[in-house]
């Protein structure tokens, strides 16, 4: 009897999953299929494709061969059954909730989120009649207390942006599942190299692939990964998957596609109607970026740890929120959920408040002052004056983005140059404070 093939390691999957040589040409690198549509063999083939009775490409708003490679790659790295790639991380959140939310439904979310997500949940989701109830994730019981019969899902960021809060995934997953709710985890800040939320009970994992997955600050994208483990028929909350879909002549996705139900639904209904398709070129850049994800993440966290330790001892710095520091209140959770390092995005408080924060971001010369994270380049931003300025000061503080907060995304430059640039920037901020 043949020996059972061993499961490939993470580094192997990061390079090979989903990307066998192109069957048409033998091209070894994944080709960019820059096409909108695909010919039918005949009318019957077209009908089978439109009815979802056979597999194949139809129209690139739904599926595209380059994008499919990325979907399988990320699904594989997260340990999921399938994935739906979309135009951005925000589109991923929209598509994930769109797959099961109806007007009047609720979900419970951590309040320690990227500021743009708080705005999306609090403002735009309201227009669909979706109600996000925000709670402090530090005590998992806060989620249980906020659950109502109308709740369909629980949402958290595994490692939150920008506060560096690490949530107790296993405990929150149990609370969600006890209530028959879906557990959705945004794993953007950690990346699957550092954290695998599905091991701890996540049903869906979401990424802005714009960040560490693509990794070079050159390609927008988002993705929803489905574990394939959620029972969509366990209650009457998920009728769009368990009940007949009128637009597909009464097809029931869960009955017909089993553990592929959400993956098929996400393309056939989600992308069909939301239209937030990922461009094939962006999929190609992201696939290429992921090939080096393990190597990049190792260096990202190594550099971030060194910078966090440096800042923790700096006289112009009042606090550092990095879960890799032993004094962080999240250090224990980080050791459990982020054993390879606490990511490379974190915040710190600069003495002198709002003005000192502005002086620092304007005074650095190697760090780029911009609104992104997860780039090869080191990045800096003062959230109160930029990403979080649409929030009230109360909301800013609740989101960990108060007036003295500076967010860093530590890149892959020489560590002496990264620290040297912060040194001179803090010097400028301090001079301003003393002037």
């Amino acid at each position: 009897m043949a020996e059972k093939p061993r499961t490939p390691g993470f580094e192997t999957l990061a390079i090979h999953a989903g990307a066998s040589p192109d069957p048409a040409t033998g091209a070894r690198s994944t080709p960019i299929y820059q096409t909108t549509a695909y010919v039918f063999d005949d009318v019957d083939h077209a009908a089978s494709l439109f009815n979802l009775q056979t597999y194949g490409y139809l129209y690139s708003r739904l599926t595209n061969p380059t994008v499919s490679v990325l979907e399988e790659r990320v699904a594989s790295l997260e340990g999921g059954r399938g994935a739906i790639a979309v135009a951005s991380g925000h589109a991923a959140q929209m598509l994930a909730f769109f797959s099961f939310m109806e007007p009047g439904d609720q979900f419970v979310s951590s309040n320690k989120l990227y500021g743009g997500s708080i705005t999306q949940f609090g403002r735009s989701f309201k227009k669909f009649g979706w109600d996000a109830v925000l709670v402090d994730p530090d005590d998992p019981e806060n989620f249980r207390r906020a659950l109502t019969p109308k709740c369909k899902a629980v949402f958290v960021e595994s490692l939150s942006n920008p506060t560096g809060v690490v949530v107790d995934l296993e405990a929150i997953a149990e609370i969600a599942h006890d209530a028959g709710c879906l557990f959705i985890v945004d794993n953007t800040m950690a990346s699957p190299y550092i954290c695998r939320p599905m091991r701890w009970g996540a049903d869906l994992v979401i990424h802005s692939t714009t960040k560490f997955l693509s990794g070079h600050g050159n390609a927008m994208g988002g993705i929803v990964v489905d574990s394939g483990r959620f029972d969509w028929a366990q209650n009457d909350k998920f009728k769009s998957l368990s009940e007949p879909e009128p637009a597909y002549h009464g097809l029931r996705f869960y009955e017909t596609f089993g553990d592929l139900a959400l993956t098929v639904h996400g393309h056939a209904v989600g992308l069909r109607d939301l239209g937030a398709t990922m461009a094939p070129l962006n999929a190609f850049l992201t696939i290429t970026g992921i090939e080096t994800l393990p190597l990049r993440m190792e260096r990202h966290v190594q550099n971030a740890q060194a910078v966090a330790e440096y800042l923790a001892g700096h006289p112009a710095v009042s606090w550092v929120a990095y879960a890799g520091l032993p004094q962080s209140k999240y250090h224990k959770l980080a050791q459990k959920y982020l054993p390879k390092g606490a990511g490379s995005v974190f915040t710190f408080g600069v003495k002198g408040g709002y003005q000192a924060g502005v002086a620092l971001v304007e005074g650095v010369e190697l760090f780029s002052h911009l609104a992104n994270v997860g780039d090869t380049r080191s990045l800096i931003i003062h959230p109160a004056s930029t990403t979080h300025r649409q929030l009230t000061e109360e909301q800013q503080i609740a989101a960990g983005a108060g007036p003295d907060v500076v967010r860093l995304s530590i890149g892959l430059e020489s560590i002496a140059d990264i620290i040297g640039d912060l040194e001179q920037g803090l010097e400028k901020a301090t001079r301003l404070r003393n002037a």
């Binding site: 048409a24 994935a83 993956t263």
Partner: protein, 137 residues
């Protein structure tokens, strides 16, 4: 295919049509649709009334209906009993295996065929297949 439906939006119809396209002959079995045709094949009321030899019995019925179908599959000399997504009957499976049949439960032959032949990857599914070889079209 036991429990084959003449309604085109039912999962059994999807699977039958797909497997036919891949070159398999699929004989529909459904006492309620006896005498009708599905996808060009005459519907049989039960396994015993199929004149030809059969290789596999694909069961699109709820788990409770499985044991007598396994008995019929053994009597008919089938080599494989396949229970569809969501269908599992461990005792019937043990009986079939003891009679020398291979048993698959809670899977769909359409999905497994497409997984092994690359088509499932077209839908963003994690096939679990890693290969540096060029796949045949």
């Amino acid at each position: 295919m036991v429990g084959a439906s003449e309604h085109w939006n039912r999962p059994s119809y999807f699977a039958m049509k797909y497997l036919q396209d891949k070159g398999y002959r699929v004989i529909p079995v459904n006492p309620q649709a006896k005498g009708e045709e599905i996808l060009g094949e005459a519907v049989r009321p039960d396994l015993a009334s199929i004149p030809e030899k059969i290789d596999m019995v694909d069961i699109f019925r709820r788990a409770a209906a499985v044991p007598p179908l396994v008995d019929q599959a053994i009597a008919k000399g089938a080599k494989v009993v396949w229970m569809q997504l969501g269908v599992r009957h461990d005792e019937a499976a043990i009986k079939a295996e003891a009679a020398g049949l291979e048993v698959v439960m809670n899977r769909c032959p359409k999905i497994e065929y497409s997984r092994l032949h690359g088509e499932l990857a077209w839908s963003g599914v994690n096939t679990g297949i890693i290969s540096s070889k060029r796949r045949k079209l």
